[in-house]
């Protein structure tokens, strides 16, 4: 009913083709992720790495965006900003939801040691590499101005690939290296979010962060008192959850802060509050992880723009070098003999793979402040993530 009078005139054809291309691709991705052949395909290591890491979705996004066919122009990309904020909020929520008091109390000492060492070494190593690359691109810019970017890349390099909520897997098999790798991936994602937001905080930015956290707290109170102990209605839970996430994302955007910490706090609150509705909400968020990840990586690919110069490639190469060299050494030192256990050999490349939260941190920075530097950092982290995902597979195939 929206255009009775102007029904004879179609909108601009390129715009229509772009919109249909985006809709078609999203439909195809949703279709692929749900089909039986897709489930069978994910048994192959390479396909699993590409599908699980979100790289197929990202490649589709790149193909549609300004870096690829250019079907979506910069103005159209800007229109997708709220969707990106919502995806980020969902990711922050997922990570926050594993911060359950009982789970954190059960984290074994070797894992704490490993994560602490990894966080320090990765942060410093990645920051140094980024500083070196940015100095070659912009020698006049001093360290103080570069610091937020260095800190963001440093935080993004903490940890390794794994499910964002993998800390939940720790309790039963805490002694095995596989369980430590799984649990560590989840814990590292939480540390990366906190580190990224605290280390880059400037005096003026603290008010923004506090405002976002206050809105998240108010939303949690509203959510808790509205839902009460309700356990039955999935639709009403979805409504409450979507609304709360949008509220947190929007508050962060208005305050000029990152979406991730507020959503992270919300996730922590949900997982530590008692009640049937909270348990159901936790399950709802966990079940939707693949779908949200697909949309998020599609959007990340779309917003990936062209960056002048080679410095993002230099950063990516440097980060890859740090991961390949430093991560296994840190694991060996932190875990001691456990790292040499029979069977653990196959798991050694695991810490080399970049965590998915890295791209989320870069996108959050880009949505807060869209400049050439932030775009370059996103490109660098995407390249590093792709390289660190494929290299261990090649290494394993050769050996």
């Amino acid at each position: 009913m929206n255009a009775l009078a102007s029904a004879t005139t179609l909108r601009g054809l390129p715009e229509a083709i772009a919109a249909l291309a985006v809709g078609g691709t999203a439909l195809l991705l949703a279709f692929l992720s749900l089909t039986r052949p897709a489930a069978r395909l994910s048994r192959w290591p390479l396909a699993s790495a590409l599908l699980g890491g979100g790289w197929i979705a990202l490649a589709c996004g790149v193909a549609l965006g300004p870096l690829g066919t250019g079907l979506l122009r910069r103005e159209s990309v800007a229109e997708l900003e709220p969707l990106g904020q919502m995806c980020l909020a969902w990711i922050g929520l997922l990570v926050g939801m594993q911060m359950k008091g009982t789970l954190l109390a059960a984290v074994p000492a070797p894992l704490l040691r490993w994560i602490t060492m990894d966080a320090v070494v990765s942060f410093v190593g990645a920051a140094v590499v980024t500083w070196w690359a940015l100095r070659t691109a912009a020698p006049q810019v001093d360290l103080r101005v570069m610091w937020p970017l260095l800190a963001m890349i440093g935080a993004a390099s903490i940890g390794w690939s794994g499910e964002l909520r993998s800390l939940h897997g720790l309790d039963a098999r805490a002694s095995s290296v596989a369980a430590l790798i799984q649990g560590g991936a989840g814990l590292a994602s939480a540390i990366a979010i906190v580190a990224s937001d605290l280390v880059t905080l400037k005096p003026g930015g603290s008010a923004s962060l506090i405002t976002t956290l206050a809105i998240a707290a108010a939303a949690t109170v509203a959510l808790r008192s509205t839902l009460g102990t309700e356990t039955g209605n999935q639709g009403r839970l979805t409504l409450a959850l979507l609304g709360t996430l949008a509220l947190v994302a929007g508050a962060a955007a208005l305050a000029g802060a990152s979406t991730l910490p507020g959503a992270f706090l919300l996730g922590m609150a949900i997982t530590n509050l008692r009640g049937g509705s909270m348990r159901r909400m936790e399950r709802l968020v966990a079940e939707s992880e693949p779908a949200v990840a697909a949309v998020f990586f599609l959007l990340s690919g779309i917003i990936l723009g062209r960056t002048p110069g080679w410095w993002p490639w230099m950063i990516a190469g440097g980060l890859l070098f740090v991961r390949i060299v430093a991560k296994p050494i840190v694991a060996r030192i932190a875990l001691g003999d456990a790292w040499d256990q029979p069977g653990a050999q196959r798991l050694r490349p695991a810490p080399v793979r970049q965590a998915p939260i890295a791209v989320a941190l870069a996108v959050a920075a880009l949505l807060a402040h869209d400049t050439v530097a932030e775009r370059g950092c996103l490109l660098a982290l995407v390249l590093c993530g792709l390289g660190s995902g494929v290299l261990p597979l090649l290494w394993r195939a050769r050996s």
Partner: protein
């Protein structure tokens, strides 16, 4: 009482928090990032895009909480969403003194209208899925009689009443005879519309099932189709007399209807193929399909509601078993869809025009209600509908929302440049606002009286 107080304080806390945030604003430059290390990019996002998520969140959570409060008072949740939209929308902010920060600014509301189109598509899918071809076959002549009688009742009473009083209505008194009669016809035709969205939402909320529910939804959909043709013909007649573009206008109307049906059928085929080959939940797919229908509506100048109804109807009747999983997935998204759709509709209600035109709007609304009652009673007697449905079926035709607002906007576009175009638009919106408010409680009353409410 304790629960109501708890809910009210949560709502208040939320509104105050967002109000303070809006009042103080955000100092983006003092945020986490420094100015571009390697240079800033030229960036011109559409106004209201960056912070639209805040309005989205406020409308969703606020509608949910207020919906709970009004539900405890025995009113439909839809009314809570409408009320919350009205209270937080930009129109109330305009009439308030001293100035208070708009909780949902106009720019963000404009952006949310695209998400609103997603809601319209999903509502259309659900409405179409509720109509069974067996029911249409069995009750086709009954439906035709009811629609004809109800439309005639409204057209006669509203048209006759407005024509009789045209000398006292400023919009009509200064027009020539031909133009006056034309405007009377437009006004009467516009008041015939009711809201498929509200009917569907109320049926879902109350889980109503029975002759009242089936007839209410079927009449609404059939009438919607008929009305599109009538209004299109009226607007085309104006274009023909104004610019000689009758052929083009007729072509446009034809495409609007046929295109909507065609696109709906294509989406039904795609959905059927996908549901056959996939497993698990289809929530994401439903959202993507909803967006695609909305996009198609925007790009191809078709009606998303009509396309959605066609897709839902074809799917539910051609592949009833296969589509069940899909409709179950839509069910989980419906509360969020309804909350957003009705809150946005509430936020768009022009309170200032309502304040100025309420006597006229109230008079036309009274004529409409009388026309609905008479038309539907006569139609029910003609079609052999039994009590209590015969007594209460008229209540399902009272609510007005998205379709009526869209028709009013089309009329304004068609009459652009005329000195009375804005006044007609404001009057139509004021009438919609009144029926938007009283419609859902009346429909709930009708469902209750017919004993079809299951919760």
């Amino acid at each position: 009482m304790r629960r109501v107080l708890g809910l009210l304080s949560s709502l208040l806390l939320l509104v105050i928090a967002v109000g303070l945030l809006r009042a103080w604003g955000g100092d983006n430059e003092a945020g986490l990032m420094t100015p571009g290390v390697l240079g800033d990019l030229p960036r011109s996002p559409a106004t209201g895009v960056g912070t639209a998520a805040l309005s989205l969140g406020l409308l969703l959570v606020g509608s949910f909480v207020l919906g709970e409060i009004v539900a405890l008072a025995g009113l439909p949740r839809v009314s809570g969403a409408l009320l919350f939209g009205m209270l937080t929308g930009p129109n109330l902010h305009v009439v308030l003194t001293p100035p208070f920060p708009a909780l949902v600014p106009q720019a963000e509301l404009d952006y949310l209208q695209f998400v609103d189109a997603l809601a319209v598509s999903l509502i259309g899918l659900v409405a179409g899925g509720e109509i069974r071809i067996e029911f249409l076959r069995r009750s086709g002549s009954m439906l035709a009689r009811l629609v004809a009688a109800e439309m005639s009742g409204v057209l006669l009473l509203v048209g006759g009443g407005v024509a009789a009083l045209s000398g006292m209505i400023p919009l009509l008194s200064e027009r020539g005879t031909g133009e006056r009669w034309y405007l009377v016809a437009v006004l009467a035709a516009m008041t015939v519309a009711n809201s498929p969205a509200i009917v569907t939402a109320m049926l879902r909320e109350t889980r109503a099932s029975g002759p009242f529910a089936h007839l209410a939804l079927s009449i609404t959909v059939v009438k919607d189709l008929t009305l599109v043709i009538i209004v299109s013909a009226l607007l085309a007649a104006w274009s023909t007399s104004d610019a000689g573009g009758g052929g083009a206008a007729a072509l446009g109307v034809g495409w609007h209807l046929a295109g909507s049906l065609l696109v709906g059928a294509v989406f039904a085929a795609v959905l059927a193929a996908i549901t056959l080959r996939t497993r698990g939940r289809l929530d994401l797919l439903v959202v993507v399909i909803g967006f695609s229908i909305a996009l198609a509506g925007r790009m191809l100048s078709i009606a998303p509601l009509l396309a959605g109804i066609t897709a839902g109807f074809v799917l539910a009747n051609a592949a009833p078993n296969r589509s069940r999983r899909l409709f179950n997935s839509i069910d989980d998204l419906l509360p969020a869809t309804y909350a957003l759709f009705f809150a946005v509709a509430g936020a768009r209600i022009g309170l200032s025009s309502l304040a100025a035109l309420w006597p006229l709007a109230l008079g036309i609304s009274a004529l409409r209600l009388a026309g609905l009652w008479c038309g539907m009673r006569a139609g029910c007697a003609w079609a052999g509908v039994r009590p209590p449905v015969r007594t209460w079926l008229w209540t399902s035709m009272v609510p007005q929302a998205g379709v009526s607002i869209a028709l009013a906007a089309e009329a304004r576009n068609a009459f652009a440049g005329q000195p009375w175009a804005d006044l007609l638009h404001a009057l139509l919106l004021s009438i919609v606002a009144l029926h938007e408010i009283v419609g859902p409680p009346l429909l709930r009353l009708g469902l209750l009286q017919c004993g079809e409410v299951r919760r």
